[in-house]
Amino acid sequence: MTLTTILLQQLVNGLVLGSFYALVALGYTMVFGVVKLLNFAHGDLYMVGAFIGLLALSLVAGAVGTSWVGVGLAILLSMLAVGFFGVFIERIAYAPMLKAPRLSILITALAVSLVLQNGVLSLTGGQVMPFSPKLGFAGINLGDIFINYKQIALAGAAAVLMLALELFVSRTQYGRAMRAVSVDKDMSELMGIDVNRIIAVTFFVGTALAAAAGTMAGAYYGSIWYFMGFLIGLKAFTAAVIGGIGSIPGAMLGGLVLGLLESFGTQIPGIGSAWKDVFSFSVLILVLVFKPTGLLGKSEQERM
């Protein structure tokens, strides 16, 4: 393999990985933008999304099989179910804490994360469960590089979801209200916006995107387990910070940048794939040191 081939192959890998990060980072960033909460349970909702996706796939398998249609349907069902689950969590765990000091709600988020992880641990006995849709291994050859259909479908689905989100946020009354709430909550309420409802919608959309990513990851990697959300939660947080937390285009960009950095980083002599995570978290530290507001983030002035 020539160097060019290796680099192109890493480009494809990086984009696929980056789409995952971007989808999960979006939920992180949306919730932060509207509620100013770092939802540490977000990665675990991705994990729950994968399990619900597996369950959904087994339910629809009889009717449509476990090929492309089945997986697509499983993704949609998981998004819907886990989206409502996210709203439920917000109502019972976060809503009572909204007026409390910021630290309290952060600790609540850690608690929710532990509850979800351990809940799934006890339900599954900590087993790694096979997620084996019949998607085959076929693909297309572009010159020397090989892209399988799963990668194309995954990146495509992620792109469609992100485009839909962008339209929702920029072109609809709900999206506008969401942005208004993230800028000035009290003001929004006085303009007749039901802030609690907007927070619920934000949690629904953010969690549904995480569930989509979780189900897609399950179908792509072929196995799921209760701890799968931990690392991606941290990576998505990194992606959100790189892009500028609170910024939706920033999360998309940050996810792709992180995915590409990781896949190319493993090619640097001396940095093997074992060092991948060290590499990405070093990037997080560098961003925090040199551009704390992220690539697309705006510095926020506290006005008195």
Partner: protein, 262 residues
Amino acid sequence: MALLDLKGVSLGFAGNRVLQDVSFAVDAGAIASLIGPNGAGKTSLFNSITGFYKPQRGSIVFDGVETRRMKPHQVTRAGIARTFQNVRLFREMSVLENVMSGQHCRSRAGAIGAVLHLPAQQREEAHIHDVAAGCLRFVGIDPAEWERDATTLAYGHQRRVEIARALATEPKLLLLDEPAAGLTKGEKAELVTLIARIRDERGVAVLLIEHDTGLVMSISERVSVLDHGVMIAEGTPREIQANPRVIEAYLGSEDAEAALAL
């Protein structure tokens, strides 16, 4: 019957009594003013009317409905809109989007429809756009400025965008908190015309807090005076100007110049 009717409203924070037994009414289609020295509780009264503060006692009836226990967004939906002492437009949103956000409480399409981009939702979106555009034209903001980030506009224009956003909630009563603050003389004259048009052309009652006594006296049909949380006088501008208690309240306060203008 009065559009807005407050009876015996009392508000306190941790032992500080901010409003004491305030009774006060605004008729439908009226232009009324609330004046008083700094710290008299005028803005607190606005915050109580809009549901932002919860007065401990009294009743606030708007359009026949008790609103004292309603949340701010419910009060807005009931038909009360307001602007702020310091302009508070939404950052990072365009002028048009700011005004469109005022229509949120009038929209019916649900969140699911918005996610799926259903035709009904698109029609509503078009309607919201038209209402917002109408409000912006009404306050005289040029379409060339509609797509700009709202907080980059000239100060006087931001004030007018804020009024447009309040009008976009389709209110029956508009509360203006010091709308003339920081405006030039010419802009103040335009504001007087605008307030009159809001009432005459849109049938919206206007209640303003204002320190510019000349402006207040020229435009208001009724003036109420608040001092240390107590309503000390109520009447026509002429009656207020002749009321010794009002002059006394102003003398020695930071608003001594207002007393001279009376």
